[in-house]
Symmetry: C2
Subunit: 172 residues, 2 copies
Protein backbone atom coordinates (compact mmCIF):
# COMPACT_ATOMS: atom_id res chain seq x y z
CA UNK A 1 0.00 0.00 0.00
CA UNK A 2 1.08 3.55 -0.74
CA UNK A 3 3.09 4.80 2.28
CA UNK A 4 1.29 8.13 2.39
CA UNK A 5 -2.17 6.60 2.26
CA UNK A 6 -1.17 4.13 4.95
CA UNK A 7 -0.03 6.96 7.20
CA UNK A 8 -3.24 8.96 6.64
CA UNK A 9 -5.31 5.90 7.58
CA UNK A 10 -3.24 4.95 10.63
CA UNK A 11 -3.01 8.38 12.31
CA UNK A 12 -4.92 8.38 15.57
CA UNK A 13 -5.62 11.00 18.21
CA UNK A 14 -3.31 10.38 21.15
CA UNK A 15 -4.53 11.17 24.66
CA UNK A 16 -1.64 9.96 26.83
CA UNK A 17 1.95 11.20 26.52
CA UNK A 18 5.35 10.52 27.96
CA UNK A 19 7.07 13.61 29.38
CA UNK A 20 10.04 13.33 26.98
CA UNK A 21 10.46 16.47 24.90
CA UNK A 22 9.85 16.54 21.17
CA UNK A 23 13.25 16.69 19.43
CA UNK A 24 13.73 20.00 17.68
CA UNK A 25 14.43 18.39 14.31
CA UNK A 26 11.09 16.60 14.41
CA UNK A 27 9.19 19.66 15.59
CA UNK A 28 10.75 21.63 12.74
CA UNK A 29 9.58 19.07 10.18
CA UNK A 30 6.05 19.09 11.58
CA UNK A 31 5.97 22.88 11.42
CA UNK A 32 7.30 22.94 7.88
CA UNK A 33 4.54 20.55 6.77
CA UNK A 34 2.06 22.99 8.32
CA UNK A 35 3.33 25.87 6.23
CA UNK A 36 2.72 23.89 3.03
CA UNK A 37 -0.98 23.30 3.63
CA UNK A 38 -3.16 24.76 0.89
CA UNK A 39 -4.68 28.17 1.65
CA UNK A 40 -7.38 30.09 -0.18
CA UNK A 41 -5.87 32.11 -3.05
CA UNK A 42 -2.47 31.12 -1.62
CA UNK A 43 -2.82 33.89 0.96
CA UNK A 44 -1.21 31.88 3.79
CA UNK A 45 -3.68 33.32 6.30
CA UNK A 46 -2.60 31.16 9.30
CA UNK A 47 0.27 31.44 11.73
CA UNK A 48 1.64 28.86 14.16
CA UNK A 49 3.00 29.32 17.65
CA UNK A 50 5.24 26.41 18.58
CA UNK A 51 5.28 26.14 22.36
CA UNK A 52 7.90 24.03 24.10
CA UNK A 53 8.60 26.39 27.02
CA UNK A 54 7.08 24.63 30.02
CA UNK A 55 5.68 27.74 31.66
CA UNK A 56 3.91 28.90 28.50
CA UNK A 57 2.64 25.39 27.79
CA UNK A 58 1.18 25.18 31.30
CA UNK A 59 -0.33 28.64 31.01
CA UNK A 60 -2.11 27.65 27.79
CA UNK A 61 -3.28 24.47 29.46
CA UNK A 62 -4.76 26.45 32.34
CA UNK A 63 -6.43 28.96 30.02
CA UNK A 64 -7.86 26.15 27.92
CA UNK A 65 -9.14 24.27 30.95
CA UNK A 66 -10.76 27.45 32.24
CA UNK A 67 -12.87 27.73 29.07
CA UNK A 68 -14.63 24.52 30.09
CA UNK A 69 -14.52 25.19 33.83
CA UNK A 70 -11.97 22.45 34.50
CA UNK A 71 -8.63 22.34 36.28
CA UNK A 72 -7.34 19.22 34.54
CA UNK A 73 -4.67 19.38 31.83
CA UNK A 74 -6.57 19.34 28.52
CA UNK A 75 -3.26 18.68 26.77
CA UNK A 76 -3.00 15.18 28.29
CA UNK A 77 0.56 15.75 29.47
CA UNK A 78 1.92 16.45 25.99
CA UNK A 79 5.18 18.42 26.25
CA UNK A 80 4.72 20.51 23.09
CA UNK A 81 1.80 22.43 21.65
CA UNK A 82 1.48 24.11 18.27
CA UNK A 83 -1.23 26.75 18.32
CA UNK A 84 -2.68 27.61 14.93
CA UNK A 85 -4.37 30.97 14.50
CA UNK A 86 -5.61 32.60 11.32
CA UNK A 87 -6.29 36.10 10.08
CA UNK A 88 -10.00 36.91 10.36
CA UNK A 89 -9.72 39.41 7.52
CA UNK A 90 -9.21 36.66 4.96
CA UNK A 91 -12.52 34.99 4.04
CA UNK A 92 -11.09 31.46 3.99
CA UNK A 93 -9.17 31.81 7.27
CA UNK A 94 -11.03 29.13 9.19
CA UNK A 95 -10.67 26.53 6.45
CA UNK A 96 -7.03 27.53 5.88
CA UNK A 97 -6.14 27.18 9.54
CA UNK A 98 -7.82 23.80 9.70
CA UNK A 99 -5.75 22.53 6.76
CA UNK A 100 -2.61 23.61 8.58
CA UNK A 101 -3.81 21.63 11.60
CA UNK A 102 -4.39 18.62 9.37
CA UNK A 103 -0.87 18.73 7.98
CA UNK A 104 0.54 19.01 11.51
CA UNK A 105 -1.41 15.95 12.69
CA UNK A 106 -0.44 13.90 9.66
CA UNK A 107 3.21 14.95 9.74
CA UNK A 108 3.45 14.13 13.45
CA UNK A 109 2.19 10.63 12.86
CA UNK A 110 4.55 10.10 9.94
CA UNK A 111 7.45 10.98 12.26
CA UNK A 112 6.40 8.65 15.05
CA UNK A 113 4.92 11.35 17.26
CA UNK A 114 1.53 11.28 18.92
CA UNK A 115 -0.77 14.24 18.38
CA UNK A 116 -4.31 15.41 18.94
CA UNK A 117 -6.40 18.45 17.98
CA UNK A 118 -7.45 20.26 21.13
CA UNK A 119 -10.24 22.78 20.58
CA UNK A 120 -11.24 25.97 22.45
CA UNK A 121 -8.40 27.96 20.82
CA UNK A 122 -10.97 30.50 19.66
CA UNK A 123 -12.23 31.20 23.18
CA UNK A 124 -8.68 31.13 24.51
CA UNK A 125 -7.37 33.81 22.17
CA UNK A 126 -10.54 35.88 22.24
CA UNK A 127 -9.94 36.34 25.99
CA UNK A 128 -8.03 39.33 27.32
CA UNK A 129 -5.30 37.01 28.61
CA UNK A 130 -4.98 35.38 25.20
CA UNK A 131 -4.77 38.73 23.42
CA UNK A 132 -2.13 39.90 25.91
CA UNK A 133 -0.15 36.71 25.31
CA UNK A 134 -0.15 37.36 21.56
CA UNK A 135 0.97 40.95 22.09
CA UNK A 136 3.77 39.75 24.38
CA UNK A 137 4.98 37.56 21.51
CA UNK A 138 4.95 40.50 19.12
CA UNK A 139 1.90 39.16 17.26
CA UNK A 140 -0.45 41.97 16.28
CA UNK A 141 -3.57 41.80 14.13
CA UNK A 142 -6.96 40.14 14.11
CA UNK A 143 -6.10 36.52 14.84
CA UNK A 144 -8.63 33.82 15.65
CA UNK A 145 -7.53 30.67 17.42
CA UNK A 146 -8.20 27.65 15.21
CA UNK A 147 -6.78 24.78 17.23
CA UNK A 148 -3.97 23.33 19.31
CA UNK A 149 -1.96 20.45 17.92
CA UNK A 150 -0.52 18.78 21.00
CA UNK A 151 2.62 16.76 20.35
CA UNK A 152 4.77 14.22 22.10
CA UNK A 153 5.61 10.55 22.36
CA UNK A 154 2.57 8.40 22.98
CA UNK A 155 2.56 6.63 26.33
CA UNK A 156 1.26 3.26 25.18
CA UNK A 157 -0.70 2.32 22.07
CA UNK A 158 -3.53 4.53 20.84
CA UNK A 159 -7.02 3.17 20.70
CA UNK A 160 -7.89 1.52 17.38
CA UNK A 161 -10.00 3.63 15.04
CA UNK A 162 -13.73 3.52 15.59
CA UNK A 163 -15.71 2.11 12.72
CA UNK A 164 -16.36 4.68 10.00
CA UNK A 165 -20.04 5.58 9.73
CA UNK A 166 -22.00 3.73 7.07
CA UNK A 167 -23.22 6.78 5.17
CA UNK A 168 -19.96 8.73 4.98
CA UNK A 169 -19.81 8.53 1.19
CA UNK A 170 -22.47 9.07 -1.45
CA UNK A 171 -21.65 8.46 -5.12
CA UNK A 172 -23.24 10.01 -8.16
CA UNK B 1 13.41 12.26 3.53
CA UNK B 2 10.31 10.69 5.03
CA UNK B 3 7.93 9.79 2.17
CA UNK B 4 4.90 11.22 3.89
CA UNK B 5 6.55 14.53 4.73
CA UNK B 6 7.82 14.76 1.17
CA UNK B 7 4.31 14.27 -0.17
CA UNK B 8 2.83 16.88 2.20
CA UNK B 9 5.43 19.40 1.03
CA UNK B 10 5.09 18.64 -2.67
CA UNK B 11 1.30 18.72 -2.97
CA UNK B 12 0.20 21.65 -5.10
CA UNK B 13 -3.14 23.01 -6.18
CA UNK B 14 -3.77 21.98 -9.77
CA UNK B 15 -5.72 24.30 -12.06
CA UNK B 16 -5.52 22.49 -15.41
CA UNK B 17 -6.76 18.94 -16.00
CA UNK B 18 -6.83 16.35 -18.71
CA UNK B 19 -10.31 14.99 -19.46
CA UNK B 20 -9.33 11.39 -18.57
CA UNK B 21 -11.53 9.99 -15.82
CA UNK B 22 -10.19 9.21 -12.36
CA UNK B 23 -9.88 5.41 -12.06
CA UNK B 24 -12.37 4.06 -9.54
CA UNK B 25 -9.67 2.34 -7.46
CA UNK B 26 -7.86 5.66 -6.99
CA UNK B 27 -11.03 7.58 -6.21
CA UNK B 28 -11.91 4.93 -3.63
CA UNK B 29 -8.54 5.34 -1.91
CA UNK B 30 -8.87 9.11 -1.82
CA UNK B 31 -12.34 8.80 -0.30
CA UNK B 32 -11.17 6.30 2.27
CA UNK B 33 -8.41 8.68 3.38
CA UNK B 34 -11.10 11.32 3.82
CA UNK B 35 -13.11 9.15 6.18
CA UNK B 36 -10.07 8.75 8.45
CA UNK B 37 -9.53 12.46 9.08
CA UNK B 38 -9.78 13.37 12.75
CA UNK B 39 -13.15 14.76 13.85
CA UNK B 40 -14.11 16.45 17.09
CA UNK B 41 -15.05 13.84 19.72
CA UNK B 42 -14.83 11.28 16.91
CA UNK B 43 -18.32 12.30 15.80
CA UNK B 44 -17.57 11.98 12.08
CA UNK B 45 -19.68 15.03 11.31
CA UNK B 46 -18.82 15.29 7.58
CA UNK B 47 -20.12 13.48 4.54
CA UNK B 48 -18.68 13.30 1.05
CA UNK B 49 -20.44 13.23 -2.29
CA UNK B 50 -18.19 11.73 -4.95
CA UNK B 51 -19.32 13.05 -8.30
CA UNK B 52 -18.14 11.42 -11.51
CA UNK B 53 -21.42 11.60 -13.42
CA UNK B 54 -20.80 14.24 -16.08
CA UNK B 55 -24.22 15.85 -15.87
CA UNK B 56 -24.06 16.27 -12.11
CA UNK B 57 -20.47 17.51 -12.27
CA UNK B 58 -21.47 20.12 -14.84
CA UNK B 59 -24.51 21.12 -12.81
CA UNK B 60 -22.33 21.73 -9.73
CA UNK B 61 -19.91 23.68 -11.89
CA UNK B 62 -22.72 25.91 -13.14
CA UNK B 63 -24.13 26.42 -9.62
CA UNK B 64 -20.67 27.26 -8.31
CA UNK B 65 -19.97 29.69 -11.11
CA UNK B 66 -23.31 31.38 -10.51
CA UNK B 67 -22.31 32.19 -6.90
CA UNK B 68 -19.62 34.45 -8.30
CA UNK B 69 -21.59 35.62 -11.32
CA UNK B 70 -19.41 33.75 -13.79
CA UNK B 71 -20.13 31.29 -16.59
CA UNK B 72 -16.66 29.73 -16.67
CA UNK B 73 -15.95 26.26 -15.25
CA UNK B 74 -14.62 26.86 -11.72
CA UNK B 75 -13.54 23.21 -11.64
CA UNK B 76 -10.85 23.82 -14.30
CA UNK B 77 -11.99 20.88 -16.40
CA UNK B 78 -11.44 18.31 -13.64
CA UNK B 79 -13.54 15.21 -14.37
CA UNK B 80 -14.30 14.33 -10.74
CA UNK B 81 -15.43 16.36 -7.75
CA UNK B 82 -15.74 15.30 -4.13
CA UNK B 83 -18.07 17.63 -2.25
CA UNK B 84 -17.57 17.69 1.50
CA UNK B 85 -20.45 18.82 3.68
CA UNK B 86 -20.74 18.69 7.45
CA UNK B 87 -23.51 18.58 10.02
CA UNK B 88 -24.15 22.06 11.41
CA UNK B 89 -25.48 20.56 14.65
CA UNK B 90 -22.02 19.42 15.68
CA UNK B 91 -19.96 22.31 17.08
CA UNK B 92 -16.73 21.27 15.33
CA UNK B 93 -18.34 20.62 11.94
CA UNK B 94 -16.45 23.29 10.02
CA UNK B 95 -13.06 22.18 11.33
CA UNK B 96 -13.97 18.51 10.84
CA UNK B 97 -15.03 19.02 7.24
CA UNK B 98 -11.85 20.93 6.52
CA UNK B 99 -9.71 18.08 7.83
CA UNK B 100 -11.54 15.71 5.52
CA UNK B 101 -10.73 18.08 2.64
CA UNK B 102 -7.08 18.08 3.71
CA UNK B 103 -6.87 14.31 3.65
CA UNK B 104 -8.49 14.23 0.21
CA UNK B 105 -5.97 16.72 -1.19
CA UNK B 106 -3.01 14.92 0.34
CA UNK B 107 -4.21 11.46 -0.68
CA UNK B 108 -4.81 12.63 -4.25
CA UNK B 109 -1.27 13.89 -4.55
CA UNK B 110 0.15 10.71 -3.09
CA UNK B 111 -1.66 8.75 -5.80
CA UNK B 112 -0.46 10.91 -8.65
CA UNK B 113 -3.69 12.86 -9.07
CA UNK B 114 -4.04 16.61 -9.26
CA UNK B 115 -6.49 18.29 -6.92
CA UNK B 116 -7.59 21.69 -5.71
CA UNK B 117 -9.95 23.04 -3.03
CA UNK B 118 -12.74 24.98 -4.72
CA UNK B 119 -14.75 27.16 -2.34
CA UNK B 120 -18.34 28.46 -2.43
CA UNK B 121 -19.74 25.07 -1.36
CA UNK B 122 -21.54 26.83 1.48
CA UNK B 123 -23.41 29.19 -0.84
CA UNK B 124 -24.02 26.38 -3.31
CA UNK B 125 -25.73 24.08 -0.82
CA UNK B 126 -27.52 26.87 1.02
CA UNK B 127 -29.34 27.62 -2.26
CA UNK B 128 -32.70 26.07 -3.05
CA UNK B 129 -31.15 24.19 -5.96
CA UNK B 130 -28.41 22.82 -3.71
CA UNK B 131 -30.91 21.69 -1.08
CA UNK B 132 -33.01 20.03 -3.76
CA UNK B 133 -29.94 18.25 -5.10
CA UNK B 134 -29.18 16.85 -1.63
CA UNK B 135 -32.77 15.68 -1.25
CA UNK B 136 -32.64 14.00 -4.65
CA UNK B 137 -29.63 12.04 -3.40
CA UNK B 138 -31.50 10.97 -0.27
CA UNK B 139 -29.40 13.26 1.96
CA UNK B 140 -31.54 14.84 4.65
CA UNK B 141 -30.43 17.00 7.58
CA UNK B 142 -28.70 20.28 8.24
CA UNK B 143 -25.64 20.05 6.00
CA UNK B 144 -23.30 22.92 5.26
CA UNK B 145 -21.06 22.82 2.20
CA UNK B 146 -17.41 22.91 3.28
CA UNK B 147 -15.56 22.56 0.00
CA UNK B 148 -15.11 20.81 -3.32
CA UNK B 149 -12.04 18.70 -3.89
CA UNK B 150 -11.68 18.62 -7.66
CA UNK B 151 -9.73 15.64 -8.97
CA UNK B 152 -8.12 14.48 -12.14
CA UNK B 153 -4.85 14.09 -13.98
CA UNK B 154 -2.90 17.32 -14.18
CA UNK B 155 -2.47 18.70 -17.68
CA UNK B 156 1.15 19.77 -17.43
CA UNK B 157 3.25 20.58 -14.39
CA UNK B 158 1.79 22.57 -11.52
CA UNK B 159 3.28 25.92 -10.61
CA UNK B 160 6.05 25.67 -8.03
CA UNK B 161 5.06 26.62 -4.48
CA UNK B 162 5.18 30.30 -3.65
CA UNK B 163 7.64 31.24 -0.96
CA UNK B 164 6.26 30.67 2.54
CA UNK B 165 5.72 33.91 4.43
CA UNK B 166 8.51 34.95 6.77
CA UNK B 167 6.42 35.14 9.93
CA UNK B 168 4.51 31.86 9.60
CA UNK B 169 6.06 30.38 12.74
CA UNK B 170 6.67 31.87 16.18
CA UNK B 171 8.51 29.84 18.81
CA UNK B 172 8.26 30.09 22.57
Amino acid sequence: MNEVLKSLLERRSCRKYRPDPVPKELLDQVLEAGTYAATGMGKQSPIMIAVTDRETRDRLSRMNAAVMGSDQDPFYGAPAVIVVLADRNIPTYLYDGSLVMGNLLNAAHALGLGSCWIHRAKEEFDSEEGKALLRSLGIHGDWEGIGHCILGYADGPCRPAAERKANYICRV
